[in-house]
Amino acid sequence: MKTDTLWLRIATLAFVLPGTGGALAHHSTAAEFESGKPVTFTGTVQKVMWMNPHIYTYVEVKQPDGTSFVYHVEGGAPNGLFRQGWRKDSLPVGTLVSVSGWRARNPDSPNVGQATMTTADGSKLFSGDGPAKAAP
């Protein structure tokens, strides 16, 4: 890799890398999610909605009564994630994931914001460099 290209990549990453999906929110996250309502759960990925302005991962969690609840876990902006090397199929359906984040202010909403999502081996999903990082 040419040195100037490397530096450009580093400079670009400095601007686009989010700590979490919510860190790049371009509108108020506090308006939508409540820090006083933290939530942690483990479930299986039902689908990934690769949409603007934030992607959503649908995570199905089995309840003690045998029913299931599907959380909608908010991630970063899809264009930024694409540049970091993430794709819609980076997280296959059926993957077991652990999530921690904030519940929505609206009690009827299944949305979870400011979320950290990890796989069983501890890998963070949709954060930092993704598997397709070879393409900037």
């Binding site: 108020s28 996250t29 609206n106």
Partner: protein
């Protein structure tokens, strides 16, 4: 000269040359047919959710930080940007301070969450990059944020005097030496300067300047002039970097997800103020 000394001299020279090479920017400034700098390119503008963060609010005349009390405002409404308490972080007028304290995206909704135009200031503050397309007569700003555009005539063309106020305002550009100066007025008063919710009135004049420091670097400044909201003008200075050629401007549709969130109530819809004349 003894051999060890010669070796040290050669090593020092090599080190010096390598350091100089690494630090040397590409000083070739691309030019348009009229000899003015060509700002065309896909730029990484820094994400600025809070234009008043400590150390960033400058005096436009001296470029030194303004002395601000930053006294806490315990009677302000719910915070917009993730719980950061509000303070006297800008030189507010009474009107501006009242607007700052009253901003409540939690209970009243924010227009950006409703996918309405962010306004010129928040467009430039947004994190997704901007493509500049320029010729001697005009500059087109193609914001990836919501696939919005902004047209800036730079060769004396005039906008209609009676053009209606708008979310993004209208801009004209002119050159001061090799610096492009873009002045924007004609705002509808519905927008905020940044994600944190800093206020402005319809009297706002934004002056954005763009100067190519080298072929891949822009020095960007923005001056906020709004005598209704602020007792004096203030300024931010930022550095933009050219993105790699492989990093292309992409489509972005806020409504894609937020429409459903607005319908479901996960995002509170924004409504225009009842007394439209106050702004």
């Amino acid at each position: 000269m003894p051999r060890p000394v010669r070796l040290i001299c050669v090593a020092a020279l090599q080190c010096s040359l390598m350091t100089a090479w690494a630090a040397t920017p590409d000083t070739t400034i691309p030019q348009m047919a009229n000899g003015k700098p060509d700002l065309s390119g896909h730029w990484a503008n820094p994400y600025v959710p809070d234009m008043a963060r400590a150390g960033s609010v400058l005096d436009p005349l001296t470029r030194k930080p303004l002395q601000l009390s930053r006294a806490p405002l315990p009677d302000a409404r719910a915070s917009a940007a993730g719980g950061t308490p509000r303070s006297m972080d800008l030189p507010y007028t009474d009107w501006g301070l009242a607007r700052w304290k009253a901003y409540d995206p939690v209970n009243e909704g924010d227009y950006a969450g409703s996918c309405l135009p962010f306004g010129m200031s928040r467009n430039i503050n947004s994190p997704h990059g901007v493509q500049f397309v320029q010729n001697p007569a005009a500059l087109a700003m193609l914001f990836e944020q919501n696939t919005w555009f902004h047209w800036v005539p730079t060769a004396g063309q005039k906008w209609p005097d009676d053009i209606p106020p708008s979310w993004n305002g209208v801009s004209t550009g002119h050159w001061e030496g090799d610096t492009l100066v873009v002045e924007t007025t004609g705002f509808n008063g519905y927008t905020r300067l940044d994600t944190a919710g800093h206020p402005h009135s319809r009297q706002l004049k934004l002056t954005n300047t763009f100067r190519l420091v080298d072929a891949r670097t822009i020095e960007h400044t923005v001056i906020v002039h709004d005598p209704k909201a602020y007792t004096r003008d203030w300024m931010n200075v930022r550095t933009w970097k050219l993105k790699p050629a492989s990093d292309v401007v992409m489509e972005y549709s806020c409504e894609e997800n937020n429409l459903g969130n607005l319908f479901s109530g996960a995002i509170k819809p924004w409504k225009p103020p009842e007394n439209d004349d106050e702004d």
